[in-house]
């Protein structure tokens, strides 16, 4: 009998353990249960079996309890609060509650943490968008992975690697190499722009390209109107961009309509296609395409046919390989191809393939990796992608450092919570996860805020960069994942140390109010502040150095005077008038007292002059030296107009009849040609042969990245793309007004175009300019985040020392001494950061500067300026709180608890 009582007691305990049941319920059910046992025993079961049967008959206590709970709870759905839900770990509600409380009680610190992280993550988002765009170039072509550009490197002489090659090469390649499925050539239409006319409309079109009819087979440019297979076959066919078609024809369908190029021989074109809106992320942007057959028709003559120009580096040629073909396989066949194809250029002794190498350059590599001679446009650089990525990581780390500092510094405020949780059985792991979870949650909140911030900032970024960045979240899972990855990463980085540190508190000690030994912790905190400021100082000094170098490039004596020169492109009706009588136009303009000189010449300094081979009298063609040459030559007035000084000899003179075939060369060319007493020596370039009459100083006609190269300038007085006008200082606007009226009178149908030589020259430093402004923005962001952290940390530390400050004041400390006391420790840290970052920034920036042939020295003043400014900024940050505590009445401080 005793054993059955024991069993019943046990059964009752399961009832008692269940919070659903009240005392009376248990009594009632026990009574029922006993009756059941009794009944079974009467039926002849023994005690044990009767008990077992009763347990079975009564059913699962847990289930009964749950139903009773449902009857009694005011909640209509759900599980009893003590039962674990299937997917939410227990206590999670409590964690949220604690987190919510912490946030609302510490709005100040939470705001600091969140804003730091938000700015950090937003910066990362923007940089990712930028990088994503950079690496996306030319990938929109469906066959992008099979398209390669053919480039040619001369292995002799200047070893120039050309992005463009001779017109017949493409067809030759297709015929010779079966793995090549298709080829296409692109040749930019000369001149900066052309005027198209349709009825009374005039349209200034830029970026036109001659291309083969295979264009649409190779590249993926869908047509809005027209048939891609036939659009570019007939001579005189033109395919327009959507914008261009819209501007010229409005809503009319332009297919089959004729437009004419009014500025260039009045050529008529028939519109055969209109392109859909084109992506901007291509290395080869264009606005309209003209059939290559037009080019052949326009240029071929009895003496010249493009297909005979084997060595003319004129056209950009692309091959489409068969599917599955390894480019290396095709490249291996290229030396043989060169030997056969260029056979007629060979002298019999040297094989053409030993003089030149042909490469296949993957289409998608061009934008980031290609910097060859005669690129269609200046490409970007993979190094920028790396620099940006590193900066993004740094900015994020600065934000995470804030989080770590503020959380560990303020850990003592949560000691009681930690103590109690531990006492109630929370393990270290559980606590660590709680704290880590909190930081991840905060970083996710920051992520949402950062997203909003980025969307808000995006239009401005687009304006600065001239790109069209968009957030296409839904269509790009990789983007979503990488963004979420950043949020999680920053949450984990910021949370991992604080969670390990805080979860390690001993419950007994913290409940007694003993602060855990935190010397490690303080060390880490100091280290992080040093880290943050080291990066900030690095960025400030870097910005200063970049800025200084760019300023140097702009103001450095270039060997010519780029200020006060107006460039006027010669085209259209004006071109005809100029070529009719160039001298009279010059004289006419020079009558204006504010115009000092007028020159009609080919290129201006800053444009890349082409490379040609010249030879001295007595040398054979083998001994030719390749030098840069002023393409279309210069006229009598170029040297004075550009303000170039001659070190020897004289300028071209109309008085000297032999000057019509003469040269002016620079000092570098004298050296390269190995001349002594150069004036009077005869120089040959094709059929142009004549004496050297003058030696110019080495003026910087290219960017200061490179040393001045050898340059020769022939005289071509009646030919040129530009009219250069030198004005008296300060009279530019008057002169412009005069030029516009005068040229307008001469060529009424022309659009007046001009630019300033100084602006054109500054274009050379555009990528440096962009880098400089990017550096500048990031320095600001980094300093801002670091200061947010410093502000929080100093506030907290001053808070902790309120009493100490009160006592000191009572004992007679002055406001100043309090300020010094509070700021001292931070200033020390910033000094350490400064000392650490200086050598690193010096080394890295020196490396950057070494890419310039002409560089501004890194001055001590930059470091001093950076040091002082960061000191002032941080003093202002700390000072606000320090001052508050220093001038507060000691009574208040001592009363505070």
């Amino acid at each position: 009998m005793a054993s059955i009582e024991k069993n019943i007691e046990k059964w009752k305990k399961t009832l008692k353990r269940n919070p659903s049941f009240e005392e009376s319920d248990i009594m009632e059910m026990e009574s029922h249960f006993r009756s059941l046992i009794e009944k079974y025993m009467e039926e002849g079961f023994n005690e044990k079996d009767a008990f077992d049967k009763a347990v079975q008959q009564f059913g699962e206590i847990e289930k009964v309890g749950e139903d009773v709970y449902k009857v009694r709870t005011p909640k209509l759905v759900g599980k009893p609060s003590w039962q674990e839900s299937k997917w939410i770990p227990s206590l999670i509600r409590n964690y949220f509650k604690t987190l919510g409380r912490n946030i609302s009680r510490n709005k100040f610190y939470t705001t600091l943490n969140l804003s730091g992280l938000t700015i950090g993550i937003a910066t990362c988002l923007l940089i990712i968008l930028f990088i994503k765009d950079e690496v996306s170039y030319d990938r929109f072509h469906e066959k992008a992975d099979r398209i390669h550009r053919v480039t040619l490197k001369y292995e002799v002489g200047s070893q120039t690697h050309w992005a463009a090659i001779g017109p017949p090469v493409a067809k030759g390649l297709k015929d010779a190499i079966p793995e090549i499925e298709e080829t296409v050539r692109m040749y930019p239409i000369g001149g900066n722009f052309h005027i198209f006319g349709y009825e009374n409309n005039r349209y200034k079109a830029t970026k036109g390209v001659y291309t083969d009819s295979s264009f649409f087979d190779v590249f993926s440019y869908p047509l809005k109107h027209g048939v891609p297979e036939t659009a570019l076959i007939e001579p005189g066919s033109v395919v327009l961009s959507e914008e261009m078609a819209q501007a010229i024809f409005g809503s009319e369908n332009p297919i089959g309509k004729d437009i004419h190029m009014t500025d260039w021989g009045n050529i008529y074109f028939t519109v055969t296609g209109v392109l859909e809106k084109m992506p901007t992320n291509t290395h080869f942007p264009f606005n309209y395409l003209v059939s290559m057959s037009t080019f052949y028709e326009v240029t071929s003559g009895p003496n010249w046919n493009p297909d005979n120009s084997l060595t003319w580096a004129g056209m950009y040629e692309y091959v489409l390989l068969d599917e599955g073909v390894n480019p290396g396989q095709v490249e291996a066949k290229l030396p043989d191809f060169i030997d056969q194809f260029f056979a007629r250029l060979a002298d019999g002794e040297t094989k053409p393939s030993s003089m030149a190498t042909m490469y296949l350059q993957p289409l998608t590599d061009i934008h980031l990796y290609s910097d060859l001679e005669k690129e269609y446009k200046t490409n970007s650089d993979m190094r920028y992608v790396y620099i940006f990525s590193i900066i993004a990581v740094f900015v994020l780390l600065i934000a995470c450092a804030n989080f770590i500092n503020l959380t560990t510094a303020r850990a003592s405020n949560r000691m009681r919570e930690i103590g109690i949780r531990k006492t109630l059985g929370a393990g270290r792991k559980q606590l660590a996860f709680q704290f880590l979870g909190e930081s991840i949650l905060l970083s996710l909140i920051s992520f949402v805020l950062a997203y909003a911030l980025t969307v808000f900032l995006l239009p401005y970024l687009n304006e600065i960069t001239g790109k069209q960045f968009t957030f296409e979240f839904t269509s790009d899972p990789v983007l979503i994942l990488s963004f979420l990855g950043i949020a999680l990463f920053s949450g984990i980085i910021s949370g991992i140390y604080p969670s390990i540190y805080m979860s390690g508190f001993s419950p007994v000690k913290v409940l007694k109010g003993i602060t855990p030994n935190s010397s490690n912790n303080a060390f880490l905190r100091k280290g992080l502040v040093v880290f943050q400021f080291a990066i900030s100082i690095f960025l400030i000094i870097g910005t200063l150095i970049v800025y200084n170098q760019l300023n140097f490039l702009r103001t450095e004596q270039m060997g010519f005077d780029k200020e006060g020169v107006i460039n006027i492109p010669i085209f259209g009706d004006f071109e005809e008038i100029v070529y009719e009588n160039p001298e009279s136009i010059k004289q006419e303009l020079q009558r204006n007292p504010n115009i000092l000189n007028v020159s009609i010449s080919g290129d201006y300094p800053g444009k890349r002059f082409s490379v040609e081979s010249v030879r001295l009298d007595g040398q054979t063609e083998d001994e030719e030296t390749s030098v840069r040459i002023a393409d279309e030559g210069i006229d009598y007035d170029y040297i004075p107009t550009m303000g170039i000084s001659l070190s020897e000899g004289r300028n071209f003179s109309k008085m000297a009849p032999t000057d019509t075939n003469a040269w002016i060369i620079n000092e570098a060319a004298v050296k390269k040609l190995g001349l002594e007493n150069p004036v009077g020596k005869i120089l040959h370039w094709g059929s142009y042969s004549g004496p050297i009459v003058g030696i110019s100083e080495d003026f910087n006609y290219m960017s200061l990245h490179t040393e001045v190269e050898a340059l020769v300038m022939p005289l071509t007085p009646d030919w040129g793309d530009y009219l250069f006008v030198r004005t008296t200082a300060g009279k530019t606007s008057e002169v412009l007004e005069f030029l516009e009226t005068r040229i307008g009178e001469l060529a009424p149908s022309n659009i007046f175009e001009y630019s300033f030589l100084s602006d054109e020259f500054d274009q050379l430093y555009r990528s440096e300019d962009q880098m400089s402004s990017v550096f500048w923005y990031f320095s600001l962001v980094a300093i801002l985040i670091a200061c947010l952290g410093l502000f929080g940390l100093s506030t907290f530390i001053i808070d902790q020392r309120t009493k100490e400050i009160g006592v000191r004041k009572i004992l007679g400390a002055s406001t100043k001494s309090i300020l010094v006391l509070v700021s001292k420790s931070f200033i020390k840290l910033i000094a350490v950061a400064f000392i650490l970052s200086v050598p690193i920034v010096y080394l890295i920036m020196n490396e950057w500067l070494s890419s310039f042939a002409y560089k501004a020295e890194i001055g001590i003043w930059m470091f001093i300026l950076a040091g002082i400014s960061i000191l002032l900024i941080s003093l202002a940050t700390i000072g606000f709180q320090a001052m508050k505590s220093a001038i507060s009445k000691p009574v208040e401080a001592l009363k505070s608890e």
């Binding site: 009632e28 029922h32 139903d67």
Partner: protein, 112 residues
């Protein structure tokens, strides 16, 4: 076996009916259910109590304790006025459902 949901639905009218015959306590109620249904309605005994508590909470039954020396304490339930009204309604509903089903099942399907 009768389905779980049907057992749950029928528990209310069944218990109210048994109580309408007179005051009773948990064990006896469940015994009656067993006898009357001939074992068709197979309840685990414990499940009776949530139902009873619910009826009591809704005011359909009331209870009192009877504790006497020497015998087991028992909690007696009796039907209230509201309970009777509820039972009448339930009854009507069940009969309705029953009739509908009967009619439907007695019909010969006609193909038109």
């Amino acid at each position: 076996m009768i389905s779980k949901s049907l057992v749950a639905a029928s528990s209310k009218p069944l218990i109210l009916t048994i109580l309408s015959w007179g005051e009773n306590y948990g064990y006896e109620i469940i015994q009656k259910v067993g006898e009357l249904s001939g074992g068709v309605l197979d309840w685990s005994d414990g499940m009776l109590y949530p139902v009873l508590y619910k009826l009591e909470k809704d005011g359909l039954v009331q209870s009192r304790w009877e504790i006497e020396e020497g015998s087991r304490p028992r909690k007696y339930y009796s039907i209230t006025k509201k309970g009777k009204e509820e039972l009448a309604q339930e009854k009507a509903q069940w009969i309705n459902v029953n009739e509908v089903l009967q009619t439907v099942w007695n019909m010969k399907p006609t193909v038109s």
